[in-house]
């Protein structure tokens, strides 16, 4: 049996698949979110030092992870489009940017609301917070650059360069708490040592991470569908779909 790896590399065949996947991942996101919030608010105990304020962790850490991860995936698609000139790659990169910016903002916002009770300040210019803010500006820069160029293929190329150069910021964010003396704490969860938190807290955080993952996949696929319709509006399949949606 031979697999046609390129079957879904054209908008025409990917469009309906993306719609079905978005629905499935959206449903998974709701389920995981319900389970994660239950663990986070009704199973996980009160923190001995921070009281209930630590419960922000269940969205703060997953959002921060997603903000970095989505940037890497965006840069990956952008680079793929730059190297192989595939149509769908640039669309995927453009589709990821707003959701990535959303999670970056959520990470900063919830971090600020956690920083006030934990550190006594909404904001400090330490390496972790500053590099995460730069990530937000990289997303905004990518979106603004693409919006400023009318020809989608040229917009993809320019955006891809920015995305690839900016990817250097992701390890800086991740390792900032090691490389510099930051007010922000070090990683509570890492691949090299045991997590430094209660098992139920960790479980809630991981389930919420899955929820944000699923949400991101659904939102990105929905946006990719919009971009496909916009860019391929003069094609037969788009016209056919528009007639069916009427």
């Amino acid at each position: 049996m031979s697999i046609n790896w390129f079957k879904y590399s054209s908008p025409q065949t990917f469009f309906p698949l993306a719609g079905r996947l978005a629905l499935g991942f959206g449903a998974l996101a709701v389920l995981a979110c319900a389970a994660g919030l239950y663990l986070g608010f009704f199973v996980a105990p009160t923190d001995a030092q921070q009281g209930e304020s630590y419960r922000i962790i269940f969205i703060h850490v997953p959002a921060a992870w997603m903000s970095m991860f989505l940037y890497v995936v965006m840069a990956f698609w952008a680079g793929l489009g730059l190297a192989f000139n595939t149509r769908l790659s640039g669309m995927m990169a453009s589709a990821i940017a707003p959701t990535g910016a959303l999670f970056t903002f959520i990470a900063l916002w919830t971090g600020s609301l956690w920083g006030k009770p934990a550190w006594g300040t909404w904001w400090v210019w330490d390496a972790r917070l500053t590099s995460e803010l730069i990530l937000l500006f990289l997303y905004f820069g990518f979106m603004a650059l693409q919006a400023a160029i009318d020809d989608p293929r040229r917009a993809d190329k320019a955006g891809a360069l920015l995305a690839l150069v900016g990817v250097v910021n992701v390890p800086i964010i991740y390792f900032s708490v090691k490389w510099w003396n930051t007010l922000h704490q070090g990683a509570s969860v890492s691949l090299t040592k045991a997590p430094t938190m209660a098992a139920t807290m960790l479980a809630g955080m991981l389930v919420m991470s899955f929820a944000f993952w699923f949400y991101s996949i659904a939102a990105v696929l929905l946006r990719a569908r919009c971009i496909m319709l916009e860019r391929e509006r003069s094609s037969d399949w788009a016209a056919q779909y528009a007639r069916g949606a009427a």
Binding site: E52, I59, C226, E230, A238
Partner: protein, 49 residues
């Protein structure tokens, strides 16, 4: 974790503003994003026709 009452749950041990301020804004932003996506799609369909 047993909160005992709704008041205790909403108060979050005195950190209600910070905890619910985080969760509420996150929820609102996600709902807004999905709303914007639905509008963008119907606009795209409108331009094809």
């Amino acid at each position: 974790m047993n909160w005992g009452s709704w008041e205790n749950f909403l108060a979050m041990g005195g950190y209600g503003l910070y905890v619910w301020g985080s969760y509420l804004v996150t929820l609102v932003l996600m709902v807004v994003e999905l709303g914007l996506l639905a509008r963008r799609k119907s606009n795209a369909i409108g331009r094809i026709r």
